[in-house]
Symmetry: C2
Subunit: 302 residues, 2 copies
Amino acid sequence: MNFKEEMAARTALCEQIIKGFLPDREAFPYMETVVDAMNYSVEAGGKRLRPMFLLETNTMYGGRRDLAAPFMAALEMIHTYSLVHDDLPSMDNDLYRRGKLTTHAVYGEGMAVLAGDGLLNLAFETAALAFDRAESPEETGAVIKALQLLSRNAGIRGMVGGQCADLTAEKHPERTGLDTLLFIHKNKTSALIDSGFAIGAILAGAPEKDLESLHKIAEDIGLAFQIQDDILDVTGDSQVLGKSVGSDEKDGKVTYVTMFGLEKAAEDVRALTGEALSLYDGLSASNDFLRALILSLVDRVS
Amino acid sequence: MNFKEEMAARTALCEQIIKGFLPDREAFPYMETVVDAMNYSVEAGGKRLRPMFLLETNTMYGGRRDLAAPFMAALEMIHTYSLVHDDLPSMDNDLYRRGKLTTHAVYGEGMAVLAGDGLLNLAFETAALAFDRAESPEETGAVIKALQLLSRNAGIRGMVGGQCADLTAEKHPERTGLDTLLFIHKNKTSALIDSGFAIGAILAGAPEKDLESLHKIAEDIGLAFQIQDDILDVTGDSQVLGKSVGSDEKDGKVTYVTMFGLEKAAEDVRALTGEALSLYDGLSASNDFLRALILSLVDRVS
């Protein structure tokens, strides 16, 4: 299999695992709407990169997929809820994402708030199911560590913190320096990628030294990913991206590209990816697909 | 001490415990606003009934307060986030709660969405801290059970489910029968009260038989509490309540009072409280203050 086929197969596997934890509307009378809105949001697509990272580091260290699966679903639910709330009229006010109507555009604003809340809550409910799948005190300990990291990275010490800093920066571009920008990317983007890399490894009992490298790899990749997003907002094809381009410039947003220009931005994406790969090559285990996946993020066009 | 003094002392104790888990804005650069909005929401007051139930059943079964404390804070964070999102313009659109400006009225709508998300996430992050306080495998097992119940009761199998059913019922009062109403109250109100009663007991290692009774007590109290709310919306004093009265009638809302009238509603509050107390008296442990607290809910005027 070439990388593209492999990628398609892994995406399908992630989708199948995630869907297995989504609520069945028939089992939820009186509240079909919120269940529909939640499922619509998760099933609207996406690259499933975070659960894929989780699955791949878990496999790489010989973990049990049964234990990792609830966390894969939980991580994608957290990522999805953040998009649902981010798209709200009071936030970014987006009617389309990945070429499809956003959740509030279909179900109304109140229901989109509730669907996001439902997804965030379901994420922890789902992750906590992993305790019932642990087969030894060591596995229970790993689930505890994974759950603590999942909640930490998604909240004010991670993604929510990054969202707030981003919202503030949008209102005050004149006060947005490089430190703010790096803080936003590290928290808004790298934190959930870190949950993918680290939780997969933690659940498989990876050595502490490798975990440290994985945190750094996730930070680099998150930053590279975000800079690449800013580049694509200038150079990308809106058809391929499934969203409009040029929105950063239109909104007067400070980005890595407006700060350093396209050339230096592209250079830094390559440098960050290079650092991530070199750290990756120093790990005590390996996974060819994961390495190719990291590399593919530099050249992505969508 | 009489009940009123005792109640004031317990409320103060709950507030102190909850505040101990709130984020310190100095520790969160770049995102002071969301931290301020979260703390404002929690510190805006309230009866702290849910963490108080948790503390009281925990004490009653000889639990360690150190282990219960993170769950008390987590439960109040969940209750608070639900109010913040419920008050949003796209939901109930309330500018005041407990006589104070609501979160979105002070910090703006986008920041209120984010503050609610931050609180829900912090709830699980805080509850997961309890693992570090467990001193035996039994206590770790109890924390797992408590966390699973906390997440279940707050989501689509509990509060979020009730919220969605309520939102749907408001739009379709003609389709709202007694079954819908009981479903809403059981999920929107009783579920978090159940988290209080049951989690306190679980963390203290209460017997399984008592847990069953506690679930039923919480269900009865939640229903009685909600019917009393509907009664106070007709007969209450807006000054004492800290919110406007007559809003249900104005909104054409179907409530227990519009369905059965004031007299039958008051009768049922007494009957439900009576059943709760009789179940309470059959428990294997006792706590005079908790008994008085349950009784006080029948006569409340705010």
